[in-house]
Symmetry: D2
Amino acid sequence: MAILRGRHFLQIPGPTNVPERVLRAMTKPTIDHRGPEFVRLTRELLESLQEVCQTTGKVVIYPSSGTGAWEAAIVNTLSPGDKVLMFETGHFAVMWRNLAVRLGIQADFIPGNWREGVDPLLVEEKLTADQKQDIKAIMVVHNETSTGVLSRIAEIRQAINRVGHNALLMVDTISSLALTDYRHDAWGVDVTVGSSQKGLMLPPGIGFNVLSEKALMASKSARLPKAYWDWEAVIKANQTGFFPYTPPTNLFFGLKEALQMILEEGLENIFRRHNRFAEATRRAVRAWGLEVNCLSPAEYSNSVTAVRLPEGYDADTLRKLILEKFNLSLGNGLGKLQGKVFRIGHMGDFNELMLAGTLSGIEMGMALAGVPHKKGGVQAALDYLAGNE
Amino acid sequence: MAILRGRHFLQIPGPTNVPERVLRAMTKPTIDHRGPEFVRLTRELLESLQEVCQTTGKVVIYPSSGTGAWEAAIVNTLSPGDKVLMFETGHFAVMWRNLAVRLGIQADFIPGNWREGVDPLLVEEKLTADQKQDIKAIMVVHNETSTGVLSRIAEIRQAINRVGHNALLMVDTISSLALTDYRHDAWGVDVTVGSSQKGLMLPPGIGFNVLSEKALMASKSARLPKAYWDWEAVIKANQTGFFPYTPPTNLFFGLKEALQMILEEGLENIFRRHNRFAEATRRAVRAWGLEVNCLSPAEYSNSVTAVRLPEGYDADTLRKLILEKFNLSLGNGLGKLQGKVFRIGHMGDFNELMLAGTLSGIEMGMALAGVPHKKGGVQAALDYLAGNE
Amino acid sequence: MAILRGRHFLQIPGPTNVPERVLRAMTKPTIDHRGPEFVRLTRELLESLQEVCQTTGKVVIYPSSGTGAWEAAIVNTLSPGDKVLMFETGHFAVMWRNLAVRLGIQADFIPGNWREGVDPLLVEEKLTADQKQDIKAIMVVHNETSTGVLSRIAEIRQAINRVGHNALLMVDTISSLALTDYRHDAWGVDVTVGSSQKGLMLPPGIGFNVLSEKALMASKSARLPKAYWDWEAVIKANQTGFFPYTPPTNLFFGLKEALQMILEEGLENIFRRHNRFAEATRRAVRAWGLEVNCLSPAEYSNSVTAVRLPEGYDADTLRKLILEKFNLSLGNGLGKLQGKVFRIGHMGDFNELMLAGTLSGIEMGMALAGVPHKKGGVQAALDYLAGNE
Amino acid sequence: MAILRGRHFLQIPGPTNVPERVLRAMTKPTIDHRGPEFVRLTRELLESLQEVCQTTGKVVIYPSSGTGAWEAAIVNTLSPGDKVLMFETGHFAVMWRNLAVRLGIQADFIPGNWREGVDPLLVEEKLTADQKQDIKAIMVVHNETSTGVLSRIAEIRQAINRVGHNALLMVDTISSLALTDYRHDAWGVDVTVGSSQKGLMLPPGIGFNVLSEKALMASKSARLPKAYWDWEAVIKANQTGFFPYTPPTNLFFGLKEALQMILEEGLENIFRRHNRFAEATRRAVRAWGLEVNCLSPAEYSNSVTAVRLPEGYDADTLRKLILEKFNLSLGNGLGKLQGKVFRIGHMGDFNELMLAGTLSGIEMGMALAGVPHKKGGVQAALDYLAGNE
């Protein structure tokens, strides 16, 4: 394999390209996590994360991946044998369900075709049928990273409210936060699950929960064993600016910088920017004569586009060629989409020309790999971007 | 407070000073955690960690603090209500006990004076009394970071063997690994608990377990709920070079560099270097007329020295003055030692002159704070170091 | 102006994008420039620079810009009032001429149209006419950064040889070295002038000369005053690994890394890579219906393409829009080309997708700025690149 | 040689330890040196440098070492054969004289013993004798880095004024600026010569001049050839925020950060801090029974202390041992002091504990090397520092 030069295009749907500002911040010398400088850092991080999550609720940060934050949401709120409602929107929904089941939760897992989000009417129907209110939580992946499909959280909340059901609403925002409008408070979410390596533009290593008052209340009586993930211990330690475990200091330095960048740009601007990139990407895909995996425009993802390959062509072979020839990493198909789709991450510290380069790598790669397609995808994207700047 | 210039002396007993080489490695651009370069990285990390732990056993890495690695050791091997034997060697032993209890384990917690390590004879006695072999695990902190006292793991293993007891031996090496001789295989340890921010010279954010065959076997029947911490899922994914969660890529870049530095220097050289620093530190303490918290020379710590202040003097007041005047962070007294001791971390990427600077800051700080002491601690350290280079 | 996110595309014709590896190397702690580690560094740099310049001649490095290396070439070889032959290939040729004149040299400056390189036949003619061999040096810019035109050094040398003229041949390779084939020894160059910020992929701050034996001999009798630039002092100090001035240590760290990257990839591969990018760029320009400034294919530049705008359109207005909308810096027209051309740097740590992004920014920018052009430039480049990988 | 761990102590008298903040700033991506962001950078640098030099005069920056800035001072103000008055205060005075002579200047070089600064009365005497005002400039090294001796610039200016002589006063502040009080305007200096790698806490690579109106006027008629160093070209380009050569962008990023740090701390605080370190160092030297090279307290250097070794002991042997055993670089004796002194740099990003470490390394090194001395130097320094915080 030839030596590749120039910047690697890391266009997997997370981890995303980490801005130089953030990488630089992470190289500051580690400080005493029990000293006065750390107290200021903790407070700033918690406040900024609230702003990004559009909440006044408590934020609980973990040294963990997003998977850890899933586990934290469950063990803090539920008891062994509790019943939850989940939806098979894609690979990450399946993984969250599996995790819940392993922890002793009964998940009513509504099957899905991996091309659509959660149907709010189905939520309403399921809750209406649950007259004894056995369902303790509804757990939804906001943006399914494996399929490029968004679920409509606000409408799901409305459905719950129409029924008057008491279940907690828990939402995985790992690949939507700071990329797509998301409102913890206004949408009545009880537990938000997030992590560092997508919209927050950080390397992986930080997971977090945001809690409603109702979730906090539920945690008092939840009986799954918990220690590392225990919200209460973190919240208590945070009051003085500290943590009950050794916090990941240098990732925190990076998080501070990333949150500053997000708030400088403004959430509205960030959402609009990603919306443009996503639309430009879909126009390229259609110009190539290929199919966007997501079926409904109302559920298009701002963060990632999964592209379906024609029958008989292997997406992983294409991805390998593109990586070796053009120094571009694309996301692979996960679970039942393995080999059938490739995924384009278009999120984070990203701009028009990075997108144009990405789409160019795909178009050239398809030509070299003999994947049937029409030329002109890049052109279609450029036409859109130049007309909508 | 005046602006402080020059390098901060981060002489808390962890996180330790991160070498520039490691910080630089952490700023490499994040890569695809499902790509071929990552596979090579994973394999190199696992092999090097085995070498550092002196083991051929499986290593399981987590995005977590050391606390997470404690929890992992427990949930993978034990079942609700299981009985374990633990020893109150200090604050971290107490915390590990509390964590076990929260997870539903019954801990027989042998009281201690926070100045001595685990007595192997007491282990023998306790196990001999446990004729039904109800004790499922003996959990020991190798180096008590809060007290500067080492427990003698090899002798504890011999005690267990003399009784012929079947309990697992689990050892917290968070502040001993790559600092003090530690042999997972030769000493018959079943679960080693480690983390990144002490001898491994990394920022916090990585925890890990090392497993014996017996521990792996125990994990098959252990019934505490586990998902994020599940060894099996990690080991399985590692076989192809991947992880079941999003791994902390940039911390891994740093870990690779740090492990290279450790293996370049050689474990024996590292142990000898730390032994010198620890002895020099104790000589300074004695020359000041102060007391080393650790009572027995056989249990002196290579990593940290806790220094007892005369009655009536507050260690935290002294630490604050030293931080503000001399840009030196020392460790505070934890738990029942709060205010009574300060702790000098002398580990990791550390050398004679950094130690001399550290001791100088303490000696000047005591003079300024009016803590009764004799001059000459730094001199005593220098005399020893120059005579033992 | 909106906040721009994602990577900046620095596609000016130098300084070029500095690879992360090089930036990281530059952050190593400064070392003693009179210590043993520095000696090894000096030797490695001098040897690697020789390899890159295809020479066994002496290399003399300065803390300076490329302009300083021009001055060094002159003051070391010439005397007040000496006559030299120079060619108006563009802005940098003019600047070098001006510098020579300021230093007291008489430059016979052959006018040019800024679209062609030096004509070897004209060199031959001029030298033939110089029967008394009054011309002491022929000074040529290998790659005119301001016009994107290459001069054919090997043919110029042949012309000199045909005449049997004794003049020194001095060549500015600032924007050709490690980008286009350049052979100090084989082509009989007497003084090579180079700098750090183009093909060497470093930030600006280092200039250098490479010397033939004949140049060294000339320096013994040259009578322009010289001190800082004096070759002899540097060569003498270099023999023990040191410098007669304080060398730019951290830039040297970066230079070492950059030279390693160049030699890893191999000069032939680097030349081929840049040749592809340059051809793809020209195809885009032609597809847009615009004109490449360089008139002759034999003189196309591997490093930079100057693009002529239609009459009545201002290149700087276009560049400003592209910078503000698309985070892309293009080179401005210099001297008599101001406002008439923009210049695309396609050199250094650069790849296909960075080029595609660059061309996309230009194509979209022209659409937004109302510059008359045809669509399809990016497509033409992609077609070429995919067909010639 | 064993592998050395921990931070290197770079206590040569420059380049100094570069703060992490500055190193990080230098890794920002290189920007267009003809773009709007660069304009802002240029203006900020020039203004801050004025503040540090206590001047409203023009500042002219070069990509060069300090040697280059010496040359610039001469070629901009003098004509071939001009006579200047210089003083043999040490190695750097000798080098500056040699440089002037090479450029065609006649230097009246007053011999010195390398232990004293310039005697203002001698200046007065020399100028009084120069009734025809043939002397065009008086050139003084403010802080002789090779000897640790300061010359009293304000008194020299008063001496010049008493005579009413018209000569320019040029001062090399390379190792005094931002370390010792220095007032370009108030002291009537005509050309200040400075560089980046000492008090400015930057790696080497930047030199600069500060000009009085009188110096600027002199430059109009000065007839030494000049091009690269020409003040006029730089001043003119700076008016629009640019440079006539490619400026060293990433060093400029570092310079901006370093100047911010200096102005944050405040010049007065910086001078006081260095004064304390210098006094503590001298007390250590005297406690060892060794001799400080500088003879007069009025001429003690804030930046560097040269320490004389007893007859028959080689300072370079001692320095080598200290480097290999204790990871500490000390400055060597230069010129006629070679082997006779070692030099302790105590300047820049430096604090009490770094000094204590440095002195400890020396004290231990002397013990190991068998250099006759008394113990207690470190103790003497600590006593002073603790009593004068």
